[in-house]
Amino acid sequence: MSERDRRRLVFAAFAAVLPLALLVALSRGSVPLPMGGVLRSALGRVGVAWGSPLPGTGEVILWSVRLPRVLIAALVGGGLAVVGASLQALFRNPLADAGLLGVGPGAALGAVLAVDLGWAHERFLAMPLSACAGALLALLLIYAIAHAGGRPTLSGLLLTGLAVSALAAAGTSVLLVATEEFRVRTILFWLAGGLEGRGYEHLALVAAFVGPGALALLLLARPLDVLSLGEEEAASLSLPVHGVRILVFGLCALVAGPVTAVAGAVPFVGLIAPHALRALVGPPSRRLLPASFLAGAALVVIADVAARSLGQYVELPLGSVTAFVGAPYFLVALRGQEGRG
């Protein structure tokens, strides 16, 4: 089998896994729905009548509760994976990730600030936009600190991310103490993360940011590849290095901000998907970014199913599920990376 065939196979596999994961995710939950019924109901919606659909309550659960939630999970995962792949190319580091670089905590700080100041109640988009700003600030801070002495080492980058995360978390704690009591509940519910009770308005919000943001990052595939050759070579190939970096940071924040605002922290997705796929489809971003989107989407959809079905009476936080899988993966990958120097 040639390399090209293998890559096609990988894409085909993920293109098949994603709908399958979506189908499973739609049928599982506190009220299980038969997969056949879900399929028939979906076909009915697009005008193909085929057997009997779901009972009335099943229809309501499927279309008003489960579908938006599952689609949000897919967009959250896909978006974070594309952001992770882009940051990995930009920092020239296969273990860079929005979560590890403090982008999530930065976004959280931004969102909490919006609630604290009351903006979130006054303006619809205040919270996600404020989360975007927090994410961008975290990225620029890391870039400025870590790049101050040339290309940062892996440990330098991770430690800088740790410091920025701690800083953002400290800010969030201070705000939490200073926030009026009736708003604290909103914040705590949100900080816990997860997709419980998320509906179409959240889906619209996530889609409005993740869609264009991820698409724009896909269009930057070639500049990202040039950038991954190193600053000097990229500049000698006429890439406006600084401008491209700022643009990528902006787009990453645009995706990661609202994702964090809707789903809370979902760590390690942005690391696992591109890191695992690089071995299968190679590092060129034109392949890695779309493949990462598909894989990340499937990953979070499945993680959300686990979050819903593993706990007996309560839902597990989505972020905990991805961390349970992601943290060991990260540690193994880190060892491999350090072994290579």
């Binding site: 070639r222 991954s228 070579e233 000698s236 190939l237 006429s238 190679g282």
Partner: protein, 260 residues
């Protein structure tokens, strides 16, 4: 023969240090020039300035007679390729994908690669004789092969001027010979080649013309024999340099002795 790339009275500062102090240099089509000089003489700075990567103080770099500042960045990169001493590309990147990125100045971020681009990549792989490695990830190559892949990226740019900063430093002798043979082949096609070369013996054997950079100035230039036997060369390197004619007398074996 008019110069394709020329430095005129070039002054360059890096930080607070003035590195280049009025460099004059010119390169004609198909010409080969070895740039030599002691450590910290400003060789790398000169090469990067010629590639348009560093801001100049006084003086100018002229590409095809026009100052670099008057050129658009992609237009410069379609004419001037820079090949550094070390390859920093990701290990998993395949050789052909790496070389293909040399087409970026021709196509920009979005335009799809054309047959012309694919032909340029293939030509570059053939010229450097690494066609058989096209699918291999860079991390699996030897240092020499990796340097050739980096050179192939420069050739894929289809440049009029090829600038190399110590391209042979990490290579064994076989790969060194190979690399300089490729450079001669490239010159046959009219490409001007300027290479910073650390090894004076190697530089003298390869280069038709040599320039000695010392403390930010061109201290001597001409044939390798003229440059290496000059007072300026001995002063610059702080050693005695003697050329012993070998074989038919056209080549020299160079001896370096500590002065004292």
């Amino acid at each position: 023969m008019s110069a394709v790339l020329e430095a005129r009275g070039l002054w360059v500062d890096r930080g607070r240090r003035t590195v280049l102090r009025g460099v004059d240099l010119s390169l004609g089509p198909g010409e080969g020039l070895a740039l030599v000089g002691p450590n910290a003489a400003g060789k790398s700075t000169l090469v990067r300035t010629l590639a348009g990567l560093l801001r100049t103080g006084r003086g100018d770099v002229l590409l095809e007679g026009r100052p670099l500042a008057a050129w658009a960045r992609p237009a410069i990169a379609r004419r001037v390729a820079l090949v550094a001493a070390e390859d920093a590309a990701p290990d998993r990147l395949a050789v052909e994908d790496r070389v293909a990125l040399g087409r970026y100045p021709h196509r920009g971020p979005l335009a799809p690669f054309t047959d012309e681009d694919r032909a340029a990549v293939l030509r570059a792989l053939r010229q450097t004789e690494i066609e058989h490695l096209a699918r291999r990830p860079l991390g699996t190559l030897s240092a020499g092969e990796r340097q050739l892949a980096l050179l192939a990226r420069g050739l894929a740019q289809d440049p009029a001027v090829l600038l190399l900063d110590e391209p042979a430093t990490h290579l064994d002798v076989r790969h060194q010979l190979h690399l300089f043979r490729v450079l001669d082949d490239v010159r046959q096609h009219g490409v001007a080649v300027l290479a910073v070369i650390h090894d004076l013996q190697r530089a003298a054997v390869w280069a038709p013309r040599m320039a000695l950079l010392d403390e930010g100035r061109i201290a001597a230039s001409g044939s390798p024999v003229e440059v290496l036997e000059s007072e300026a060369a001995g002063r610059a390197f702080g050693v005695g340099i003697r050329g012993l004619p070998v074989a038919d007398g056209s080549e020299r074996l160079w001896r370096f002795e500590v002065r004292g």
